[in-house]
Protein backbone atom coordinates (compact mmCIF):
# COMPACT_ATOMS: atom_id res chain seq x y z
CA UNK A 1 0.00 0.00 0.00
CA UNK A 2 2.68 2.46 0.98
CA UNK A 3 4.58 1.44 -2.13
CA UNK A 4 1.56 2.15 -4.30
CA UNK A 5 1.13 5.53 -2.62
CA UNK A 6 4.77 6.34 -3.12
CA UNK A 7 4.51 5.40 -6.79
CA UNK A 8 1.41 7.54 -7.17
CA UNK A 9 3.07 10.50 -5.48
CA UNK A 10 6.12 10.21 -7.70
CA UNK A 11 4.18 9.76 -10.93
CA UNK A 12 1.16 11.90 -10.18
CA UNK A 13 2.07 14.60 -12.70
CA UNK A 14 2.79 12.10 -15.47
CA UNK A 15 -0.48 10.34 -14.77
CA UNK A 16 -2.30 13.66 -14.89
CA UNK A 17 -0.73 14.42 -18.27
CA UNK A 18 -1.89 11.09 -19.64
CA UNK A 19 -5.47 11.62 -18.47
CA UNK A 20 -5.50 15.20 -19.81
CA UNK A 21 -4.05 14.13 -23.14
CA UNK A 22 -6.76 11.50 -23.55
CA UNK A 23 -9.46 14.06 -22.74
CA UNK A 24 -7.90 16.53 -25.18
CA UNK A 25 -7.80 14.06 -28.04
CA UNK A 26 -11.26 12.62 -27.41
CA UNK A 27 -13.13 15.27 -29.48
CA UNK A 28 -10.94 14.37 -32.47
CA UNK A 29 -11.67 10.69 -31.96
CA UNK A 30 -15.40 11.37 -31.72
CA UNK A 31 -15.27 13.48 -34.89
CA UNK A 32 -13.40 10.72 -36.70
CA UNK A 33 -15.65 7.79 -35.78
CA UNK A 34 -18.87 9.77 -36.19
CA UNK A 35 -17.88 10.86 -39.69
CA UNK A 36 -18.00 7.23 -40.87
CA UNK A 37 -21.30 6.24 -39.30
CA UNK A 38 -24.95 6.58 -40.26
CA UNK A 39 -27.14 8.67 -37.91
CA UNK A 40 -28.78 5.49 -36.66
CA UNK A 41 -25.46 3.84 -35.91
CA UNK A 42 -24.05 6.80 -34.00
CA UNK A 43 -27.27 7.11 -32.02
CA UNK A 44 -26.84 3.50 -30.86
CA UNK A 45 -23.19 3.70 -29.91
CA UNK A 46 -21.48 7.08 -29.78
CA UNK A 47 -17.92 6.12 -29.07
CA UNK A 48 -17.43 2.74 -30.70
CA UNK A 49 -15.55 2.36 -33.94
CA UNK A 50 -17.87 2.14 -36.94
CA UNK A 51 -18.80 -1.42 -37.99
CA UNK A 52 -18.89 -0.36 -41.62
CA UNK A 53 -16.93 2.65 -42.83
CA UNK A 54 -19.44 4.81 -44.69
CA UNK A 55 -17.16 6.64 -47.07
CA UNK A 56 -20.22 7.91 -48.91
CA UNK A 57 -20.62 10.43 -46.04
CA UNK A 58 -17.44 12.05 -47.31
CA UNK A 59 -18.51 12.10 -50.95
CA UNK A 60 -21.84 13.63 -49.99
CA UNK A 61 -20.35 16.17 -47.57
CA UNK A 62 -17.76 17.32 -50.10
CA UNK A 63 -20.44 17.87 -52.70
CA UNK A 64 -22.95 19.59 -50.43
CA UNK A 65 -20.47 21.87 -48.70
CA UNK A 66 -18.98 22.85 -52.10
CA UNK A 67 -15.67 22.13 -50.39
CA UNK A 68 -13.40 22.71 -53.34
CA UNK A 69 -14.77 26.18 -54.08
CA UNK A 70 -14.12 27.26 -50.50
CA UNK A 71 -10.75 25.49 -50.47
CA UNK A 72 -9.71 27.58 -53.48
CA UNK A 73 -10.98 30.77 -51.78
CA UNK A 74 -9.18 29.92 -48.54
CA UNK A 75 -5.93 29.29 -50.40
CA UNK A 76 -6.10 32.59 -52.29
CA UNK A 77 -7.13 34.51 -49.16
CA UNK A 78 -4.41 32.99 -46.98
CA UNK A 79 -1.47 33.05 -49.40
CA UNK A 80 -2.06 36.60 -50.65
CA UNK A 81 -2.70 37.96 -47.15
CA UNK A 82 0.37 36.40 -45.57
CA UNK A 83 2.72 37.45 -48.40
CA UNK A 84 1.44 41.02 -48.24
CA UNK A 85 1.66 41.11 -44.43
CA UNK A 86 5.29 39.97 -44.51
CA UNK A 87 6.31 42.37 -47.29
CA UNK A 88 4.50 45.44 -45.91
CA UNK A 89 5.36 44.91 -42.26
CA UNK A 90 9.03 44.04 -42.79
CA UNK A 91 9.62 47.11 -44.97
CA UNK A 92 7.93 49.46 -42.53
CA UNK A 93 9.60 47.80 -39.54
CA UNK A 94 12.97 48.34 -41.16
CA UNK A 95 12.67 52.14 -41.46
CA UNK A 96 11.01 52.41 -38.06
CA UNK A 97 13.64 50.32 -36.29
CA UNK A 98 16.53 52.14 -37.96
CA UNK A 99 15.20 55.67 -37.42
CA UNK A 100 13.22 55.60 -34.17
CA UNK A 101 16.26 56.58 -32.08
CA UNK A 102 17.01 59.74 -34.06
CA UNK A 103 13.72 60.83 -35.58
CA UNK A 104 10.67 61.69 -33.53
CA UNK A 105 8.25 60.78 -36.35
CA UNK A 106 9.49 57.17 -36.41
CA UNK A 107 9.51 56.93 -32.65
CA UNK A 108 5.87 58.04 -32.77
CA UNK A 109 5.05 55.46 -35.46
CA UNK A 110 6.40 52.67 -33.27
CA UNK A 111 4.17 53.74 -30.36
CA UNK A 112 1.25 54.29 -32.71
CA UNK A 113 1.27 50.80 -34.18
CA UNK A 114 1.85 49.28 -30.77
CA UNK A 115 -1.28 51.08 -29.57
CA UNK A 116 -3.24 49.68 -32.53
CA UNK A 117 -2.64 46.04 -31.51
CA UNK A 118 -5.50 45.83 -28.98
CA UNK A 119 -8.05 47.29 -31.42
CA UNK A 120 -9.98 44.13 -32.24
CA UNK A 121 -11.83 43.76 -35.51
CA UNK A 122 -15.12 43.69 -33.60
CA UNK A 123 -14.58 47.31 -32.55
CA UNK A 124 -14.41 48.68 -36.10
CA UNK A 125 -16.42 46.15 -38.08
CA UNK A 126 -19.37 48.51 -38.57
CA UNK A 127 -17.34 51.28 -40.31
CA UNK A 128 -15.22 48.66 -42.15
CA UNK A 129 -18.42 47.23 -43.57
CA UNK A 130 -19.62 50.70 -44.56
CA UNK A 131 -16.32 51.75 -46.13
CA UNK A 132 -15.82 48.51 -48.05
CA UNK A 133 -19.42 48.65 -49.21
CA UNK A 134 -18.84 52.11 -50.68
CA UNK A 135 -15.66 50.94 -52.41
CA UNK A 136 -17.39 47.85 -53.86
CA UNK A 137 -15.05 45.60 -51.91
CA UNK A 138 -17.79 43.60 -50.16
CA UNK A 139 -17.97 39.99 -51.33
CA UNK A 140 -14.61 40.16 -53.09
CA UNK A 141 -11.48 38.30 -52.08
CA UNK A 142 -9.26 41.39 -52.61
CA UNK A 143 -11.48 43.24 -50.11
CA UNK A 144 -11.08 40.55 -47.49
CA UNK A 145 -7.34 40.37 -48.16
CA UNK A 146 -6.93 44.15 -47.70
CA UNK A 147 -8.84 43.99 -44.41
CA UNK A 148 -6.89 41.01 -43.11
CA UNK A 149 -3.52 42.52 -44.05
CA UNK A 150 -4.38 45.88 -42.48
CA UNK A 151 -5.61 44.25 -39.27
CA UNK A 152 -2.54 42.01 -39.00
CA UNK A 153 0.13 44.61 -39.71
CA UNK A 154 0.47 46.12 -36.20
CA UNK A 155 1.43 42.81 -34.57
CA UNK A 156 3.71 41.77 -37.46
CA UNK A 157 5.42 45.16 -37.37
CA UNK A 158 6.01 44.89 -33.66
CA UNK A 159 7.63 41.47 -34.12
CA UNK A 160 9.85 42.61 -36.99
CA UNK A 161 10.98 45.77 -35.17
CA UNK A 162 12.13 43.66 -32.24
CA UNK A 163 14.04 41.38 -34.56
CA UNK A 164 15.64 44.06 -36.74
CA UNK A 165 17.00 45.82 -33.66
CA UNK A 166 19.19 42.77 -33.03
CA UNK A 167 20.78 42.93 -36.50
CA UNK A 168 23.98 45.03 -36.63
CA UNK A 169 23.80 48.08 -38.90
CA UNK A 170 27.36 47.73 -40.23
CA UNK A 171 26.37 45.24 -42.94
CA UNK A 172 23.88 47.66 -44.46
CA UNK A 173 26.29 50.57 -44.26
CA UNK A 174 28.87 48.59 -46.23
CA UNK A 175 26.33 47.83 -48.95
CA UNK A 176 25.18 51.43 -48.91
CA UNK A 177 28.70 52.73 -49.40
CA UNK A 178 29.09 50.33 -52.32
CA UNK A 179 26.33 52.29 -54.02
CA UNK A 180 23.29 50.10 -53.45
CA UNK A 181 20.06 52.07 -52.89
CA UNK A 182 18.05 51.73 -49.69
CA UNK A 183 15.53 49.40 -51.28
CA UNK A 184 18.19 47.18 -52.79
CA UNK A 185 20.07 47.13 -49.51
CA UNK A 186 16.92 46.07 -47.73
CA UNK A 187 15.96 43.27 -50.09
CA UNK A 188 19.45 41.87 -50.69
CA UNK A 189 21.08 42.36 -47.27
CA UNK A 190 18.46 42.84 -44.53
CA UNK A 191 15.52 40.75 -45.68
CA UNK A 192 17.56 37.52 -46.00
CA UNK A 193 18.74 38.05 -42.42
CA UNK A 194 15.11 38.25 -41.30
CA UNK A 195 14.49 34.67 -42.40
CA UNK A 196 13.92 33.21 -38.89
CA UNK A 197 11.43 35.98 -38.08
CA UNK A 198 9.71 35.65 -41.45
CA UNK A 199 9.41 31.87 -41.10
CA UNK A 200 7.86 31.95 -37.65
CA UNK A 201 5.60 34.91 -38.35
CA UNK A 202 4.44 33.40 -41.65
CA UNK A 203 3.72 30.04 -40.02
CA UNK A 204 1.61 31.52 -37.23
CA UNK A 205 -0.05 33.98 -39.59
CA UNK A 206 -0.96 31.26 -42.10
CA UNK A 207 -2.79 29.43 -39.33
CA UNK A 208 -4.57 32.56 -38.08
CA UNK A 209 -5.57 33.66 -41.58
CA UNK A 210 -6.70 30.19 -42.63
CA UNK A 211 -8.93 30.05 -39.54
CA UNK A 212 -10.12 33.65 -39.77
CA UNK A 213 -13.80 33.91 -39.04
CA UNK A 214 -14.60 37.50 -38.11
CA UNK A 215 -13.15 39.37 -41.10
CA UNK A 216 -14.65 36.95 -43.61
CA UNK A 217 -17.97 36.87 -41.74
CA UNK A 218 -18.43 40.59 -42.39
CA UNK A 219 -16.88 40.84 -45.84
CA UNK A 220 -17.48 37.51 -47.61
CA UNK A 221 -21.18 36.74 -47.55
CA UNK A 222 -21.70 35.39 -51.07
CA UNK A 223 -21.27 31.63 -51.63
CA UNK A 224 -18.78 32.01 -54.46
CA UNK A 225 -16.24 33.86 -52.28
CA UNK A 226 -16.72 32.08 -48.94
CA UNK A 227 -13.64 30.65 -47.22
CA UNK A 228 -13.72 27.27 -45.47
CA UNK A 229 -14.62 28.50 -41.95
CA UNK A 230 -17.46 30.61 -43.32
CA UNK A 231 -18.73 27.92 -45.63
CA UNK A 232 -18.71 25.52 -42.70
CA UNK A 233 -20.52 28.00 -40.50
CA UNK A 234 -23.44 27.89 -42.95
CA UNK A 235 -23.12 24.17 -43.66
CA UNK A 236 -22.97 23.17 -39.99
CA UNK A 237 -25.95 25.40 -39.27
CA UNK A 238 -28.00 23.37 -41.72
CA UNK A 239 -26.74 19.96 -40.62
CA UNK A 240 -27.04 19.93 -36.86
CA UNK A 241 -29.58 17.15 -37.42
CA UNK A 242 -27.06 15.12 -39.41
CA UNK A 243 -23.81 15.38 -37.49
CA UNK A 244 -22.31 12.53 -39.49
CA UNK A 245 -22.16 14.58 -42.69
CA UNK A 246 -20.96 17.58 -40.73
CA UNK A 247 -18.11 15.61 -39.20
CA UNK A 248 -17.12 14.20 -42.58
CA UNK A 249 -16.80 17.79 -43.82
CA UNK A 250 -14.95 18.73 -40.62
CA UNK A 251 -12.41 15.90 -40.97
CA UNK A 252 -11.73 16.79 -44.60
CA UNK A 253 -11.08 20.41 -43.68
CA UNK A 254 -8.67 19.33 -40.93
CA UNK A 255 -6.44 17.51 -43.44
CA UNK A 256 -4.79 20.62 -44.94
CA UNK A 257 -4.51 22.20 -41.47
CA UNK A 258 -2.68 19.26 -39.95
CA UNK A 259 -0.47 18.62 -42.99
CA UNK A 260 0.71 22.20 -42.62
CA UNK A 261 0.88 21.80 -38.86
CA UNK A 262 3.13 18.74 -39.14
CA UNK A 263 5.39 20.43 -41.67
CA UNK A 264 5.75 23.77 -39.91
CA UNK A 265 5.25 22.93 -36.24
CA UNK A 266 8.63 24.30 -35.21
CA UNK A 267 7.92 27.66 -36.86
CA UNK A 268 4.34 27.86 -35.62
CA UNK A 269 5.57 27.38 -32.06
CA UNK A 270 8.25 30.04 -32.55
CA UNK A 271 5.78 32.46 -34.14
CA UNK A 272 3.28 32.12 -31.32
CA UNK A 273 5.84 32.50 -28.54
CA UNK A 274 8.61 34.91 -29.61
CA UNK A 275 6.42 37.97 -30.04
CA UNK A 276 4.77 37.28 -26.72
CA UNK A 277 7.88 36.54 -24.69
CA UNK A 278 9.60 39.68 -25.87
CA UNK A 279 6.51 41.55 -24.59
Amino acid sequence: MTNALKWLKKNFMVLLMWVSAIIFILPFYIAFVTSFKTPLESAKSLLSLPTVFHFENYAQALKMSSFFVSLKNSLIFTICSVVLIIVSASMAAYVIARNMKRKRFYAFLEKFFLAAIPVAFEIIMIPVYQLFYQMNLINTLPGAIIAKVGMSIPFALFMFIGFIKTIPVELEEAAYIDGAGKHRTFWTIVFPLLKPAVASLAAAQILWTWNDFSVSLILLQKDSVKTIPLQQFVFFGQYTSNFNLGFAAAIVSMIPIYIFFAAAQKYIVAGMTTGAVKG
Partner: protein
Protein backbone atom coordinates in the same frame (compact mmCIF):
# COMPACT_ATOMS: atom_id res chain seq x y z
CA UNK B 1 24.49 76.69 -52.99
CA UNK B 2 26.00 73.88 -50.99
CA UNK B 3 23.24 74.22 -48.38
CA UNK B 4 20.46 73.72 -50.91
CA UNK B 5 22.20 70.68 -52.40
CA UNK B 6 22.30 69.19 -48.92
CA UNK B 7 18.66 70.08 -48.49
CA UNK B 8 17.70 68.30 -51.72
CA UNK B 9 19.67 65.32 -50.56
CA UNK B 10 17.87 65.21 -47.22
CA UNK B 11 14.45 65.54 -48.87
CA UNK B 12 15.37 62.64 -51.12
CA UNK B 13 16.43 60.59 -48.12
CA UNK B 14 13.15 61.30 -46.32
CA UNK B 15 11.21 60.33 -49.43
CA UNK B 16 13.09 57.05 -49.66
CA UNK B 17 12.36 56.33 -46.01
CA UNK B 18 8.68 57.12 -46.49
CA UNK B 19 8.50 54.85 -49.53
CA UNK B 20 9.17 51.90 -47.21
CA UNK B 21 6.00 52.83 -45.35
CA UNK B 22 3.73 53.00 -48.40
CA UNK B 23 2.35 49.42 -48.40
CA UNK B 24 1.67 49.63 -44.66
CA UNK B 25 -0.01 53.02 -45.03
CA UNK B 26 -2.22 51.62 -47.79
CA UNK B 27 -3.41 48.47 -46.01
CA UNK B 28 -3.52 49.85 -42.49
CA UNK B 29 -5.17 53.02 -43.74
CA UNK B 30 -8.03 51.28 -45.52
CA UNK B 31 -8.57 48.52 -43.00
CA UNK B 32 -8.07 50.34 -39.71
CA UNK B 33 -7.26 54.04 -39.76
CA UNK B 34 -10.03 55.32 -42.06
CA UNK B 35 -12.65 52.97 -40.52
CA UNK B 36 -11.60 54.14 -37.07
CA UNK B 37 -12.28 57.79 -37.93
CA UNK B 38 -15.31 56.97 -40.06
CA UNK B 39 -16.61 55.12 -37.03
CA UNK B 40 -16.41 58.27 -34.94
CA UNK B 41 -18.71 59.94 -37.46
CA UNK B 42 -21.03 56.92 -37.42
CA UNK B 43 -21.17 56.97 -33.61
CA UNK B 44 -22.69 60.47 -33.68
CA UNK B 45 -25.51 59.55 -36.09
CA UNK B 46 -28.67 57.47 -36.06
CA UNK B 47 -27.41 55.45 -39.05
CA UNK B 48 -29.30 52.17 -39.51
CA UNK B 49 -26.54 50.35 -41.39
CA UNK B 50 -28.64 49.94 -44.55
CA UNK B 51 -29.38 53.34 -46.12
CA UNK B 52 -26.40 55.48 -47.28
CA UNK B 53 -24.52 56.95 -44.35
CA UNK B 54 -24.87 60.45 -45.84
CA UNK B 55 -28.63 60.27 -45.23
CA UNK B 56 -28.25 59.51 -41.54
CA UNK B 57 -29.01 62.29 -39.04
CA UNK B 58 -26.41 63.79 -36.75
CA UNK B 59 -27.59 63.14 -33.21
CA UNK B 60 -24.70 64.51 -31.16
CA UNK B 61 -23.97 62.61 -28.00
CA UNK B 62 -27.37 60.96 -27.98
CA UNK B 63 -26.00 57.44 -28.62
CA UNK B 64 -23.43 57.73 -25.86
CA UNK B 65 -25.93 59.15 -23.39
CA UNK B 66 -28.52 56.49 -24.11
CA UNK B 67 -25.95 53.71 -23.58
CA UNK B 68 -25.63 54.87 -19.99
CA UNK B 69 -29.40 54.97 -19.59
CA UNK B 70 -29.95 51.57 -21.14
CA UNK B 71 -29.61 48.66 -18.73
CA UNK B 72 -29.75 46.15 -21.65
CA UNK B 73 -26.08 46.81 -22.19
CA UNK B 74 -25.20 45.34 -18.80
CA UNK B 75 -26.00 41.80 -19.87
CA UNK B 76 -23.50 41.56 -22.77
CA UNK B 77 -20.98 43.39 -20.61
CA UNK B 78 -21.43 40.88 -17.79
CA UNK B 79 -21.19 37.97 -20.25
CA UNK B 80 -17.98 39.38 -21.75
CA UNK B 81 -16.38 39.87 -18.33
CA UNK B 82 -17.37 36.44 -16.98
CA UNK B 83 -16.19 34.78 -20.18
CA UNK B 84 -12.90 36.69 -20.12
CA UNK B 85 -12.31 35.79 -16.46
CA UNK B 86 -13.09 32.10 -17.00
CA UNK B 87 -10.83 31.97 -20.06
CA UNK B 88 -7.98 33.77 -18.36
CA UNK B 89 -8.17 31.48 -15.34
CA UNK B 90 -8.65 28.30 -17.36
CA UNK B 91 -6.15 29.04 -20.12
CA UNK B 92 -3.43 29.99 -17.68
CA UNK B 93 -4.13 27.28 -15.14
CA UNK B 94 -4.09 24.51 -17.74
CA UNK B 95 -1.40 26.21 -19.81
CA UNK B 96 0.94 26.31 -16.80
CA UNK B 97 -0.07 22.84 -15.57
CA UNK B 98 0.63 21.27 -18.96
CA UNK B 99 3.85 23.26 -19.35
CA UNK B 100 5.13 21.97 -15.99
CA UNK B 101 3.94 18.45 -16.87
CA UNK B 102 5.41 18.06 -20.33
CA UNK B 103 8.77 19.61 -19.39
CA UNK B 104 9.25 16.66 -17.02
CA UNK B 105 11.23 13.82 -18.53
CA UNK B 106 9.01 10.83 -19.28
CA UNK B 107 8.06 8.80 -22.33
CA UNK B 108 5.64 10.54 -24.70
CA UNK B 109 6.07 14.01 -23.13
CA UNK B 110 6.65 15.45 -26.62
CA UNK B 111 3.54 13.69 -27.92
CA UNK B 112 1.50 15.14 -25.06
CA UNK B 113 2.78 18.62 -25.79
CA UNK B 114 1.64 18.16 -29.38
CA UNK B 115 -1.80 16.91 -28.31
CA UNK B 116 -2.39 19.87 -25.98
CA UNK B 117 -1.46 22.27 -28.75
CA UNK B 118 -3.36 20.51 -31.55
CA UNK B 119 -6.80 22.10 -30.94
CA UNK B 120 -5.22 25.56 -31.31
CA UNK B 121 -4.93 24.86 -35.04
CA UNK B 122 -8.71 24.67 -35.48
CA UNK B 123 -11.03 27.50 -36.46
CA UNK B 124 -13.63 28.57 -33.92
CA UNK B 125 -16.30 27.27 -36.30
CA UNK B 126 -14.83 23.76 -36.28
CA UNK B 127 -14.26 23.76 -32.52
CA UNK B 128 -17.81 24.97 -31.94
CA UNK B 129 -19.25 22.27 -34.18
CA UNK B 130 -17.31 19.46 -32.50
CA UNK B 131 -18.34 20.59 -29.03
CA UNK B 132 -21.92 21.17 -30.04
CA UNK B 133 -22.13 17.46 -30.71
CA UNK B 134 -20.34 16.60 -27.46
CA UNK B 135 -22.70 18.83 -25.45
CA UNK B 136 -25.88 17.79 -27.22
CA UNK B 137 -25.26 14.04 -27.69
CA UNK B 138 -22.13 12.59 -26.11
CA UNK B 139 -22.27 14.04 -22.59
CA UNK B 140 -26.05 13.59 -22.09
CA UNK B 141 -25.86 9.99 -23.25
CA UNK B 142 -22.74 8.97 -21.36
CA UNK B 143 -22.96 11.03 -18.17
CA UNK B 144 -26.69 11.64 -18.26
CA UNK B 145 -26.25 15.40 -17.92
CA UNK B 146 -28.27 18.11 -19.67
CA UNK B 147 -27.01 20.06 -22.67
CA UNK B 148 -25.02 22.82 -20.98
CA UNK B 149 -25.19 24.99 -24.11
CA UNK B 150 -28.96 25.24 -23.95
CA UNK B 151 -29.17 26.24 -20.29
CA UNK B 152 -28.90 30.04 -19.83
CA UNK B 153 -27.06 29.69 -16.53
CA UNK B 154 -24.32 27.38 -17.82
CA UNK B 155 -23.92 28.44 -21.45
CA UNK B 156 -21.11 30.98 -20.93
CA UNK B 157 -19.06 28.49 -18.90
CA UNK B 158 -19.74 25.81 -21.51
CA UNK B 159 -18.45 28.09 -24.28
CA UNK B 160 -15.38 28.84 -22.13
CA UNK B 161 -14.63 25.12 -21.98
CA UNK B 162 -14.47 25.11 -25.79
CA UNK B 163 -12.13 28.11 -25.75
CA UNK B 164 -9.88 26.62 -23.10
CA UNK B 165 -9.65 23.30 -24.94
CA UNK B 166 -8.92 25.19 -28.15
CA UNK B 167 -6.68 27.84 -26.65
CA UNK B 168 -4.60 26.75 -23.67
CA UNK B 169 -1.96 25.24 -25.97
CA UNK B 170 -0.66 28.72 -26.80
CA UNK B 171 -0.06 29.91 -23.21
CA UNK B 172 1.40 26.44 -22.57
CA UNK B 173 4.05 27.14 -25.21
CA UNK B 174 4.81 30.54 -23.71
CA UNK B 175 5.12 29.02 -20.23
CA UNK B 176 7.38 26.27 -21.58
CA UNK B 177 9.65 28.97 -23.03
CA UNK B 178 9.61 30.70 -19.65
CA UNK B 179 10.25 27.51 -17.65
CA UNK B 180 13.17 26.38 -19.76
CA UNK B 181 14.84 29.76 -19.28
CA UNK B 182 14.98 29.31 -15.48
CA UNK B 183 18.59 28.28 -14.71
CA UNK B 184 18.76 24.77 -13.23
CA UNK B 185 21.47 25.89 -10.78
CA UNK B 186 18.75 27.71 -8.83
CA UNK B 187 16.89 24.45 -8.25
CA UNK B 188 20.09 22.64 -7.37
CA UNK B 189 20.99 25.09 -4.63
CA UNK B 190 17.38 25.06 -3.40
CA UNK B 191 17.57 21.27 -3.05
CA UNK B 192 20.76 21.65 -1.02
CA UNK B 193 18.95 24.14 1.20
CA UNK B 194 16.26 21.49 1.71
CA UNK B 195 13.41 23.04 -0.29
CA UNK B 196 10.69 20.59 -1.38
CA UNK B 197 9.06 20.52 -4.82
CA UNK B 198 6.22 22.87 -3.83
CA UNK B 199 8.58 25.40 -2.26
CA UNK B 200 10.75 25.29 -5.37
CA UNK B 201 7.71 25.91 -7.54
CA UNK B 202 6.35 28.84 -5.49
CA UNK B 203 9.64 30.48 -4.57
CA UNK B 204 11.67 29.97 -7.75
CA UNK B 205 9.53 29.03 -10.74
CA UNK B 206 6.58 31.38 -10.24
CA UNK B 207 8.58 34.60 -9.60
CA UNK B 208 10.91 33.90 -12.50
CA UNK B 209 8.18 33.25 -15.06
CA UNK B 210 6.19 36.33 -14.00
CA UNK B 211 6.85 37.88 -17.42
CA UNK B 212 5.05 34.97 -19.08
CA UNK B 213 2.14 35.60 -16.70
CA UNK B 214 1.96 39.26 -17.67
CA UNK B 215 1.86 38.41 -21.35
CA UNK B 216 -0.56 35.49 -21.14
CA UNK B 217 -3.00 37.07 -18.75
CA UNK B 218 -3.14 40.43 -20.52
CA UNK B 219 -3.49 38.84 -23.95
CA UNK B 220 -6.10 36.23 -23.00
CA UNK B 221 -8.17 38.68 -20.98
CA UNK B 222 -8.32 41.49 -23.53
CA UNK B 223 -8.81 39.14 -26.50
CA UNK B 224 -11.67 37.28 -24.86
CA UNK B 225 -13.45 40.48 -23.83
CA UNK B 226 -14.34 41.46 -27.40
CA UNK B 227 -14.84 37.91 -28.68
CA UNK B 228 -17.81 37.42 -30.99
CA UNK B 229 -16.97 34.60 -33.40
CA UNK B 230 -17.05 31.60 -31.11
CA UNK B 231 -20.34 32.65 -29.53
CA UNK B 232 -21.86 33.13 -32.95
CA UNK B 233 -20.63 29.73 -34.12
CA UNK B 234 -21.48 27.84 -30.95
CA UNK B 235 -24.81 29.31 -29.85
CA UNK B 236 -25.76 32.33 -32.02
CA UNK B 237 -25.94 34.13 -28.69
CA UNK B 238 -28.68 31.88 -27.34
CA UNK B 239 -30.56 30.62 -25.51
CA UNK B 240 -32.52 33.86 -25.34
CA UNK B 241 -29.43 36.08 -25.48
CA UNK B 242 -27.76 34.34 -22.53
CA UNK B 243 -24.50 34.06 -24.49
CA UNK B 244 -24.70 37.27 -26.49
CA UNK B 245 -21.21 38.59 -25.71
CA UNK B 246 -20.32 42.25 -26.18
CA UNK B 247 -18.64 41.57 -29.54
CA UNK B 248 -21.70 39.71 -30.76
CA UNK B 249 -24.02 42.40 -29.36
CA UNK B 250 -22.16 45.04 -31.39
CA UNK B 251 -22.29 42.79 -34.48
CA UNK B 252 -26.04 42.42 -34.03
CA UNK B 253 -26.55 46.20 -34.01
CA UNK B 254 -25.29 46.25 -37.59
CA UNK B 255 -26.83 43.09 -39.04
CA UNK B 256 -29.87 42.41 -36.88
CA UNK B 257 -31.14 45.44 -34.96
CA UNK B 258 -30.27 47.99 -37.70
CA UNK B 259 -28.91 50.54 -35.23
CA UNK B 260 -25.33 50.84 -36.45
CA UNK B 261 -24.80 54.33 -34.99
CA UNK B 262 -25.66 53.17 -31.51
CA UNK B 263 -23.60 49.99 -31.96
CA UNK B 264 -20.55 52.01 -32.98
CA UNK B 265 -20.82 54.38 -30.01
CA UNK B 266 -20.94 51.30 -27.81
CA UNK B 267 -17.91 49.81 -29.58
CA UNK B 268 -15.79 52.87 -28.70
CA UNK B 269 -16.88 52.94 -25.09
CA UNK B 270 -16.05 49.26 -24.90
CA UNK B 271 -12.63 49.81 -26.49
CA UNK B 272 -11.86 52.46 -23.86
CA UNK B 273 -12.92 49.97 -21.18
CA UNK B 274 -10.63 47.27 -22.64
CA UNK B 275 -7.63 49.61 -22.87
CA UNK B 276 -8.04 50.77 -19.26
CA UNK B 277 -8.27 47.16 -18.06
CA UNK B 278 -5.28 46.08 -20.16
CA UNK B 279 -3.12 48.86 -18.72
CA UNK B 280 -4.25 48.06 -15.16
CA UNK B 281 -3.68 44.30 -15.48
CA UNK B 282 -0.31 44.47 -17.16
CA UNK B 283 0.71 47.12 -14.61
CA UNK B 284 -0.20 44.84 -11.70
CA UNK B 285 1.84 41.94 -13.08
CA UNK B 286 4.76 44.02 -14.43
CA UNK B 287 5.46 45.21 -10.87
CA UNK B 288 5.94 41.62 -9.75
CA UNK B 289 8.38 40.69 -12.50
CA UNK B 290 11.86 39.74 -11.41
CA UNK B 291 14.91 40.63 -13.47
CA UNK B 292 17.17 37.67 -14.11
Amino acid sequence: MQVSARKIHSIKASATRLSFLLPTIFFFGIAMLIPFFLGIRVAFTDWDGITPLSMANYVGLHNFVSIFHNSDVLRPLRIAIIYALLNTLGNNFFGLLFAVGVTKKYRFNKAHRLIFFMPAALSSVLAAFMWNYIYSNVLPQILGVENYLSNPSSVVAAVSVITIWGGCGVPMLIYIAGLTSVPSSLYESAVIDGANAFQQFWKITIPLIMQSFTVNITITFTNSLSSAGLFLAATHGGPGGASESMGLYIYNFLFKYNKAGYGQALAYLFLAFIVVLAVLISGIFRKREVEM
